[in-house]
């Protein structure tokens, strides 16, 4: 792990400013601005995950691993951060001021340039096979006994449908929210009163029990049950989707779709969600890579930092693991459209929050960013790291009957340098 080396005067200036700014904001929040939900979330001791998925493949050069002035470095400059010695791309000035709350892995080799395979490797921590996603594992092992919300919520507008829960049971599958809209058909039909609805549910429960008692496959009824249960929880929390963001939140997060999605993510995490994944689309930049990263990261940088600030200021960051990742990075070599293509051989991700050493950089790439130079890690290593940071023993087997399935890939291991 590399830290605090090569810093110069300007590094320290920015570091001090960023730290003071962050501390001041924190002091205000601790001074009594926590919402009741946030206070309860902190008090509960529950651990949770915030995944920010930058869909399409964020360029490592234009984000966490800048190489200005090198053959493939592109036009953007590197800027110092609040952690002396760590520089990131100038497209993320707000994150630069909060670098002391995050850490970077610059040496991920996913060994694929395929969107789907890259995503699966980083989400499942396995190179092949039917295994649950990070969010499903979190839902299974981190959620409270009767969680007020479905365990794994994904705020997006599109994306492939996957078997995200694998063998963990349907109740741990991703529930995809289309933007900030409440799931469809959340209201009880007008023709059905409350009492009738309860009687229907009771009848369904009895029928399920009878089916199971006669030797029926419990997986069938469990899947239906979990759907009804998810719906019931969401119906109770429908107000989360109905409340308009405050003017102050809109001003801070932005009025664009990613802004309001991050506001919803904060509300869901504050109200008992175990894993919330927010997808920011638009990084598959085979053309105009630089113009598009300008646009996309301008939107991502400040908005994400507002969410990070709110988690920090409420005290929730200590119990929330934050992941910022893509399905791969982008090619060092530019194509003739000023684009960068798919590149899985030297990818960067950022982590922070619960159980993660802040302000660290793990691994490095070579001078031109064409390959990992030191401390290569895999998707499996990251998977172990997420859950070890959250206190889960990833060498243990999943809690499923009939067969021993290790939670983490036995061929991989956690990145110990990142674990607090």
């Amino acid at each position: 792990m590399r830290r605090d080396i090569g810093c110069n005067h300007i590094d320290h200036q920015l570091s001090r400013r960023g730290f003071v700014a962050g501390s001041a904001a924190g002091a205000v929040a601790i001074g009594g601005l926590l919402t009741p939900a946030q206070a309860e979330a902190v008090k509960s001791g529950q651990k949770r995950i915030l995944q920010v998925f930058l869909q399409g493949g964020l360029s490592q050069f234009e984000s966490w691993d800048p190489k200005p002035g090198t053959r493939y470095g592109g036009p953007f400059r590197a800027i110092p951060t609040s952690v002396p010695g760590i520089h990131i791309c100038e497209l993320m000035p707000h994150i630069a001021q909060r670098m002391h709350r995050l850490s970077i892995v610059r040496s991920l080799d996913l060994k694929t340039n395929d969107h789907r395979i890259g995503r699966l490797r980083i989400e499942k921590g396995r190179t092949a096979g039917d295994f649950p996603y990070v969010g499903a594992v979190a839902s299974k092992y981190l959620a409270a006994e009767n969680p007020p919300l479905p365990g794994y919520l994904h705020i997006t507008t599109r994306g492939l449908e996957d078997n995200t829960n694998a063998f963990l049971g349907a109740q741990h599958a991703q529930l995809k929210l289309l933007g900030v809209n409440a799931p469809e058909n959340l209201d009880r039909p007008a023709s059905l009163d409350e009492e009738s609805a309860q009687r229907r549910n009771e009848f369904r429960r009895l029928a399920n029990e009878r089916f199971a008692g006669r030797g029926g496959q419990p997986a069938f009824t469990e899947a239906f049950d979990s759907s009804f249960e998810m719906a019931r929880r969401l119906m109770k929390r429908k107000s989360l989707f109905e409340q308009e963001p405050s003017a102050k939140d809109i001003e801070r997060y932005g009025s664009h779709p990613f802004g309001v999605r991050c506001i919803l993510a904060r509300e869901l995490l504050s109200n008992g969600a175990t894993c919330v994944k927010v997808t920011h689309h638009g990084y598959d930049t085979h053309a105009e890579n630089f113009n598009f990263h300008l646009e996309q990261l301008d939107e991502f940088d400040k908005t994400f930092c507002m969410l990070l600030d709110d988690l920090h200021d409420s005290g929730m960051l200590e119990s929330t693991l934050v992941l910022i990742y893509s399905e791969f990075g982008r090619t060092p070599k530019l194509n003739q459209r000023y684009g960068r293509d798919h590149w899985g051989a030297s990818v960067s991700v950022a982590l922070g929050g619960c159980g993660i050493v802040p302000g660290a950089v793990v691994g490095s790439t070579n001078a031109e960013g064409t390959e990992v130079a030191e401390r290569e890690v895999s998707g499996g290593d990251l998977f172990h790291t997420y859950f070890r940071a959250l206190g889960l023993d990833t060498s243990a087997n999943h809690d499923i009957p009939g067969r021993p399935v290790p939670i983490g890939d036995p061929a991989a291991s956690p990145i110990e340098e990142l674990l607090a």
Partner: protein, 362 residues
């Protein structure tokens, strides 16, 4: 213009002795005979090029943050490095006498240089915009310099002292180019969304605004805007504003769109001619007007490396001639005598084309 076979070259870096030969009569312009006369080589992709007003030098920006100068009638040994920017240089221009070079950098700065220095270093580096400086252009009287940048501003600077004179705010998205009208009283700017603005230099006010939305596209799937001018010039008589770029964006992130040249009737402030190539997916990166009544445009494709030169007559649907380039074009300029073209390419070559038949040695 000196012919490629001539005499002694005094570049800033060295003197190149060439064998004396009698001057040859100049062949008439015949674009069907367009051919390469020189290839200057660099090992990094080029970003833009300009020929200085005296016709002695050709300059190019490169993806290595530097600007390079070659003697137009020299060879690779005349290559001179201009170093000072900390990012790519996207646009170049000159004082009217060609003594000063102005460079627009993605490091947010404008560089001012002595164009002919033997060992160039910047006279001044101006912190010009919050974000990339995308364009610089000198006024016809040489007293002003216009720039535009990613802070959505168009700014006017004094030449040669580099002091900020005026600031034009009004573009909602990045202005890609800004050029002075030949009368020196007005300035046109073109932004990402295809919005053209006409500014009054004296009052600093926006006079008119015209949309060319067909040179912009919103990719619904990726939720991204793509558009803007890749080159922009006024015709010499000031009657037309000529813009190079793209149209019909169908997949922004894969660069699937068609090349477009737009001519705007400046007096009526309306679209005069629109040219696109339906058979060619790609971008127009440079456009020049030729006094013989045609336009030349250079382009790069979406796939492969088949760069193009198109020779266009205003109002006609198809080019009356085209030339396949050895690689993707990144810009275009024409020599002061209007006989040669300079094309900077993605493969690092800066190719000089002659728009006449080759001289016959017989």
């Amino acid at each position: 213009m000196k012919t490629p076979t001539s005499d002694t070259l005094s570049t800033s870096t060295q003197t190149v002795q060439r064998p004396a030969s009698p001057p040859l009569p100049e062949n008439p312009i015949d674009v069907s005979q367009t051919h390469v006369v020189t290839e200057f080589k660099h090992d990094i992709p080029l970003t833009t090029c300009r020929i200085d007003p005296t016709g002695r030098f050709v300059f190019a920006g490169a993806e290595d943050f530097h600007v390079y100068r070659w003697a137009l009638s020299g060879d690779d040994s005349s290559k001179t490095l201009f170093t000072g920017h900390q990012s790519w240089v996207r646009c170049l221009d000159f004082s009217c006498d060609g003594r000063l070079l102005f460079t627009a950098g993605y490091d947010h700065r404008i560089g001012i240089w002595n164009a002919a220095d033997e060992n160039p270093s910047p006279i001044q580096m101006i912190d010009a915009h919050q974000g990339w400086v995308r364009w610089v252009r000198v006024s016809p009287d040489g007293k002003l310099l216009a720039s535009c940048g990613n802070d959505n501003l168009v700014r006017i600077w004094s030449v040669p002292d580099g002091k900020l004179r005026q600031e034009f705010a009004g573009h909602k998205r990045y202005p890609y180019a800004a050029v002075f009208h030949p009368d020196g009283k007005r300035l046109a700017s073109f932004d990402l969304m295809g919005v053209i603005k006409d500014w009054d230099i004296e009052t600093g006010k926006e006079v008119r605004s015209l949309e060319a939305k067909f040179m912009w596209g919103f990719d619904q799937k990726f939720r991204a805007d793509m558009g803007g001018a890749r080159d922009m010039r006024f015709s010499e008589d000031g009657k037309a504003l000529i813009v190079a770029g793209l149209t019909e964006v169908s997949n922004a992130f894969a660069g699937v769109h068609k090349p477009m040249v737009l001519c705007v009737d400046w007096e009526k402030f309306e679209h005069l001619h629109k040219w696109k190539d339906d058979a060619y997916k790609g971008m127009v990166w440079g456009v020049c007007e030729h006094p013989e009544g045609f336009l030349v445009a250079s382009g790069a494709p979406q796939g492969g490396n088949k760069g193009m030169l198109w020779f266009l007559k205003p109002g006609e649907e198809k080019p009356f001639h085209s030339v396949t380039l050895s690689h993707c074009a990144r810009g275009l300029d024409v020599t002061p005598d209007k006989r040669q073209l300079a094309v900077p390419q993605f493969d690092g070559k800066l190719c000089i084309y002659q728009m006449t038949a080759p001289h016959s040695l017989s």
